[in-house]
Amino acid sequence: MNTTSMKTFIKVTEIWIPDKERTQLEFGSGLYGELIDFKADSEQLTFAYNEGLPGKAWAEGHPIVLTEFEHSYFKRTIAAKSAGLTCGIAIPIFSGDFLMAVVVFFCGDDEDHAGAIEVWDKSLVSENNLKVMNGYYGTLKHFETISKQLSIPKGHGLAGQAWESGMPILVEDIGQATTFIRTQDAQLAGITVGISIPVYNNPNEPYILAFLSAKATPIAKRIQIWIPNKEGTQLICQQGYSKYNNDLAKIFETLPVTKGIGALGRVWLTGMPIITGNHETDYNPELDNLSKMLAIPVIEQGRLKAIVSFLF
């Protein structure tokens, strides 16, 4: 096992939260790795409704994938450019009409990074079909062309299943999955894992956020889906996946989560996404541990349906 040099597709993760008056977004927390200057430029900022990438996602009410920073509403173009960041993804988390937080991801411009992040919305042509609204595909240009032409019926494919069930769907070995519509194209593109997450603004009409992960540059070192048990008393880890077998993570995935206790318990209690773990850039990577976590709640009509955690 050699995961010490494992690069992840996502370079930066941020959480923006409403300020006291709940009229602006301020910096909550973030994972920037070695991009210290970008961090310094970011954490002082605030975004009004409809301002910058986080504010835009708030106003639009759905996830946004922004692949061109220049001449756009994006506010950190120079800083992002010098940090080698080329794409931003903003995910608003609503509880009913009200915004809880905006999670922002940034991806880089390395030549060897592959993967895709897509936002699916109801097709204008057919209400029972989904189309890619916007997406970032890194170096997977052919896969991008195919995906943007595709229309997925409810209940089919990674996005269609999440749409129908209203739950996050994690598919391992997507290149072999019979339920995934773009199996062959994914195989060609080197995509191995996919996770789709419903993002609710209006009840019953989620936007679907899909992360497609390639072997060389996975979206995260490990992804977990936690769901409430039948009684609604505890969260149980329904699924955990990483490129390499991780017995240590599995041990912690056997632990049920109680509301308010621990990081995931706090996400359940507050409905707020959370970043935990070691933020230091000089952390020893040779330990090959999962040292950082982003946990995002999936909320529908004010109730927690699931928590998706990305471990880095």
Binding site: M1, D247, L248, A249, I251, F252, T254, L255, V257, G262, A263, L264, T276, G277, N278, L287, D288, N289, L290, S291, K292, M293, L311
Partner: protein
């Protein structure tokens, strides 16, 4: 032994007595006055031994020696006329192996150097042993913490916690201490 490189730091460039003696004994000797480039010079020429012959060693010199002891430990001999207690304490703090106050006794030079080198080796062996002991103690502390986490979260006995930790470490081909750090880090994520 006599072909060692010596960096000789002396105040007066015109007095070559000590330099000549060192060369006569058989050392390769580079002589220079002390200045702010001292650390860079040491790193560049990587001597086996540094000898100072200074009337009054400066605070800046001792600060440099303390830095040097962390970066590139070397046997250091200091001849000086300064017999103040403060100077002696600073020399000890800076890991000077031999401090000789007064005139340089040339007939004793070779034995002073031999004793200083032997003391340096002994000091280094003690330092290494201390570092190893500290690391072992730290490993034991983190291992105990990791075991406690496994006992609390998994209802393991102490034995089960230890064996789980050991198996995880063996599977990953890392030490028990490193694995324990992983367990603590993972536990911190979910705290």
């Amino acid at each position: 032994m006599n072909r060692l490189n010596v960096l000789l730091i002396e105040d007066d460039p015109n007095i070559t007595l000590l330099e000549d003696e060192l060369k006569e004994i058989g050392f390769i000797c580079l002589k220079t006055p002390y200045d702010s480039t001292f650390l860079t010079l040491v790193k560049d020429i990587a001597p086996n031994l540094i000898i100072f012959n200074l009337d009054i060693p400066s605070n800046a010199l001792f600060a440099d020696l303390q830095t040097l002891s962390h970066q590139l430990a070397l046997p250091i001999i200091m001849f000086t006329r300064d017999n103040h207690v403060g100077t002696i304490n600073q020399a000890i703090k800076a890991d000077v192996c031999a401090l000789i106050v007064g005139d340089v006794e040339h007939k004793r030079l070779n034995s002073i150097i031999n004793v200083a080198i032997a003391r340096f080796k002994h000091q280094q062996a003690l330092k290494t042993a201390l570092e190893e002991a500290c690391a072992k103690l730290e490993d034991r502390k983190v291992t105990d913490r990791a075991k406690a986490i496994l006992i609390k979260t998994q209802n393991f006995t102490e034995d089960e916690a230890y064996h789980t930790l050991r198996k995880l470490a063996m599977d990953r081909k890392i030490t028990l201490g490193e694995m324990a750090k992983n367990v603590i880090a993972m536990s911190d994520l979910f705290k």
